[in-house]
């Protein structure tokens, strides 16, 4: 897929905000001295009066957004996933989640693909943390098209939304006229009968690659893109479990509490089948080029292919 167009979803976030800002006067963007990295700088250039740099104080920024939301404004809070879901977990829980305020959380630089900055900045736990907050919607888009659609959907719904974006440029896979984003609905990108690969974020493209490789080996793999991790598309997952009998989850996140956890929770109660979770195992990241790190953790197309093949005993 070397000649495929690649865009980092953090860029999609900045561009989507700048687009939405034209239509909606009540949209404000808050950042914590990372506008150049989260790409909210794109919005800032277009709407300087509606971009508030709160300085390096994320917990306060989350609270400020909560206060703004009580007055009817729609704040998009932007910083790295580590500092939004991690550092500010309790502020998000108590000042936004509990009162169910209309604040949108734009978390960039999520996952191990942050790369060279290393473990301190590679947040592989954010989905797990945010999932535990009642009423929190969580979206992890797979590419530029989906990320921009997600930002729009987040604005249009009432209530808190956590959006997960990446630093690494990733293939654009949804650029087709039929593409339609619907919150809470998984997307079957490829049909298959032997196994279902349920992927999220940048792992969707990698899983499609893996599925093609599996096909060549005579293994028919269904691929489902779960962009909305909460509320998760239970119906589609149960159907896949019943029809293919085996599920593999793939995410650039800890296998504890993220997509893998969410899928297992649904299936254990509604359609118990064997599940293989691929992701970051119970460990911290390290410095390295993003692609190398993904490969090391078996999260590139080749790695997913090998894991699935071996798990199926083929």
């Amino acid at each position: 897929m070397s000649d495929v167009k690649k865009i980092a979803t953090r860029d999609s976030y900045g561009n989507a905000l700048a687009e939405l800002g034209k239509e909606h006067d009540d949209l404000y963007v808050l950042d914590a001295d990372l506008a150049a990295a989260t790409k909210t700088v794109t919005f800032k250039k277009a709407f300087p009066d509606r971009h508030i740099d709160c300085g390096i104080a994320e917990g306060n920024m989350v609270g400020v957004a909560a206060g703004m939301a009580t007055t009817g404004k729609v704040p998009f809070v932007s910083t790295f996933a580590m500092f939004l879901a991690g550092r500010s977990y309790e502020q998000v829980r108590n000042s936004i989640g509990y009162p169910h305020l209309n604040v949108k959380l734009g978390a960039t630089h999520a996952g191990i693909s942050v790369g060279p900055d290393g473990a301190t900045h590679q947040c592989n736990e954010d989905i797990a943390l945010m999932r535990t907050i009642p009423g929190m919607t969580i979206i992890n888009p797979s590419d530029d098209v989906e990320a921009r659609a997600a930002v729009k959907a987040a604005y249009e719904m009432d209530g808190p939304v956590y959006m997960r974006f990446g630093r690494l440029a990733v293939p654009v896979i949804n650029d087709n006229p039929d593409y339609h984003f619907e919150l809470g609905k998984g997307v079957t990108l490829k049909d298959g009968t032997d196994v279902t690969i349920v992927a999220t974020g940048l792992e969707v493209a990698a899983s499609l690659e893996a599925a093609e490789m599996l096909e060549k080996e005579g293994i028919s793999a269904r691929v489902i893109n779960i962009h909305t991790i909460k509320p998760i598309d239970e119906e589609l997952l149960v159907k896949a479990a019943k029809e293919t009998g085996k599920i593999v989850t793939v995410e650039e996140h800890s296998i504890i509490g993220g997509l893998g956890g969410a899928v297992c929770e649904v299936l254990a109660e509604q359609a118990p089948v064997p599940v293989k979770r691929l992701g970051i195992r119970d460990e911290f990241g390290e410095s390295g080029v993003a692609e190398e790190l993904l490969k090391k953790h078996g999260l590139d197309g080749e790695g997913i292919f090998r894991s699935v093949k071996s798990w199926l005993g083929r």
């Binding site: 404000y28 009066d49 509606r50 508030i52 709160c54 300085g55 104080a57 917990g59 306060n60 920024m61 989350v62 609270g63 400020v64 957004a65 909560a66 206060g67 703004m68 939301a69 009580t70 007055t71 009817g72 404004k73 704040p75 309790e90 502020q91 108590n94 000042s95 509990y98 009162p99 169910h100």
Partner: protein, 278 residues
Amino acid sequence: MEKLKLQKMANEVRKDILTEVFHAKSGHPGGSLSVADILTCLYFEEMNVDPENPAKADRDRLVLSKGHATPALYAVLAEKGYFPKEELTTLRALGSRLQGHPNMNDTPGVDMTSGSLGQGISAAVGMALSAKLTGDSYRVYAVLGDGELEEGQVWEAMMLAGNKGLDNLVVVVDSNGIQLDGTVEEINSPQPIDEKMKAFHLHPIVVDGHDFDELHRAFEEARTVKGCPTAVIARTVKGKGVSFMENQVSWHGTAPNKEQYEKAMEELEKAGEALCQM
């Protein structure tokens, strides 16, 4: 409202606080009694609010950042007419609108959910900033404890409020000198509070937090201050108004038993009668 009426109202609020905490069998009487005069002054004298229309867009806002003192807030809101006074006895009970710490979605008149210390002030800064961004005229009051100033987030919020020049924001510190584990002095003193506020570009005013004239003058002065928020540092007495609760660490988070409740109410009845004879 004239001073004597405010004093009488504050005395009623104190009785309400004790009634709430007594029925709940838990809660925070000490810091509720210390902030009673401040909240009475704000809701009955200073703030533009309408109990008939608690969510009106141009109302002044108050965030009780020291949310554990919510018995005082509920008492003032009930006295003001936001909800029936009878409901005060349901504090902390299952199914009650009066949660152990304030929740904006449960209680009419509560502008922000709070109670996790250091968070309310950030929301108040957000409200004040919001007003500035769209030219709205409402004012925002944030009420903090002095122990709460130990939270780092408070100073993140102060720094932003000062740097953004939020002169529509008044930060009130209920400085009763006592926190859960001991005196503020013993634990981790934020003093000198006025100098810290000044260093963060807030306009500090130190007052006696039980003197309605001083409180009123401070809030009036705050209206005239331009280009920076005002910090009203109110020196108060923890447990104020109940002799055996005053300045006692043990009354930070303990409910009175029946005997103690009756004794406290008796004291407050007498104080009320004395005010009526003035």
